[in-house]
Amino acid sequence: MVTIDNLSFNYSKHVVFNDVSMKLEAGKIYGLLGQNGVGKTTLLKIMSGLLKLKSGSCKVNGYEPFQREPGFLGELFFIPEDFMGPDLVVNKFAKLRGEFYPNYDHNKFSRLMTEFEVNGNSKFTKLSFGQQKKAIIAFALSTNTKLILMDEPSNGLDIPSKAQLRRVISQASTDDSCIVISTHQVRDLENLIDPIIILDKNGVLLNASIDEISQKLCFEFSPTVSDKSMYSEQTLGGYINVCKNESNKECKVNIEALFNSVHQNRELIKDIFKK
């Protein structure tokens, strides 16, 4: 679906990516994690053709994003973090914009708007930030494009909407589409995102499925810090210890603990996940 080879990118003197390579496959819902300023949004913008890479290559379904060919744009949707809709009735916007997407399904849009409890007959400008965001997410998922990129989709959403968001994204994923979600709110999207990509200054620290992570790492709760653990974190009632999985035990992957472990043990993690 997406193949990135030796990508480099910089904003004048500020280097964001230096020789980054990764592959994204169809049928998956990727979680793109990373500290502030490591380039999550930049990466999404490169994949959607909004930014031009400096060297290396990025291919999406065989297209070069920055060429912005109609065949590419009709199969991609990018939801920015701070979406502000135009001065238009939401349903009208959806019908007009839907024309650009060969597989757009207006019935699906109406269904998702009902599920999100947003009134499609009002103008964007009359809706709150969270409602506008839900409207654009509903629209994005109704375009049925092969690649959907979401930048912090759960930001600005109220409590019930977060569970709805998980359900709606899960329902929208198909065997031949790929969804990439960048987020800091891993708890909002836990159990939904798999594989997990962790970006670091200049590169990819981890790109692995939950299954693979649980085979290689162990997340255990105990009253004390284990001396085998590469990372421990105090939680209610004890510690969560992250260690190498040497006993083929199956644990639940705790994404926050994973993120922190990866950051404290960059080289060790790269070594453990080397193929």
Binding site: G27, V168, S170, Q171, S173, N191, L192, F221, E250, K252
Partner: protein, 111 residues
């Protein structure tokens, strides 16, 4: 759905399904939701549901009719009971025993 931190999600979902079968909410020889349907209901990655279904298929609790979907196996209830009895004796009973000893209780005082 609320998940615990102590067990992989696919196994937690598998436990839920076993409960649904034990209480006959999902009946033997009846079709169950597809992988994507169930993922959508729970708000969980469809690949996780796929793992759950693979796991239940291996345990012969559900089966796959090609092109039709997944069904609850006949005899699934009995199979679940025997698997869970074994698990209870292997995993839960030792914990209860240890706790009883620690608190200076005898089984006869309680049961």
């Amino acid at each position: 759905m609320e998940f615990s931190e102590h067990k992989p999600i696919y196994l937690q979902i598998s436990d839920t399904i076993c409960d649904l079968i034990l209480t006959s909410e999902w009946k033997e020889e009846e079709r169950i939701p597809s992988v994507r349907e169930y993922g959508g209901i729970l708000g969980v990655n469809p690949n996780t549901i796929m793992r759950t279904y693979d796991h239940l298929q291996e345990a012969q609790i559900i089966y796959n009719k090609r092109g039709v979907g997944y069904f609850v196996n006949s005899g699934a209830q009995d199979r679940i009971i025997s698997i869970q009895r074994e698990q209870f004796i292997d995993e839960e009973v030792p914990k209860i025993k240890r706790r009883l000893e620690l608190l200076g209780l005898k089984a006869i005082d309680i049961f």
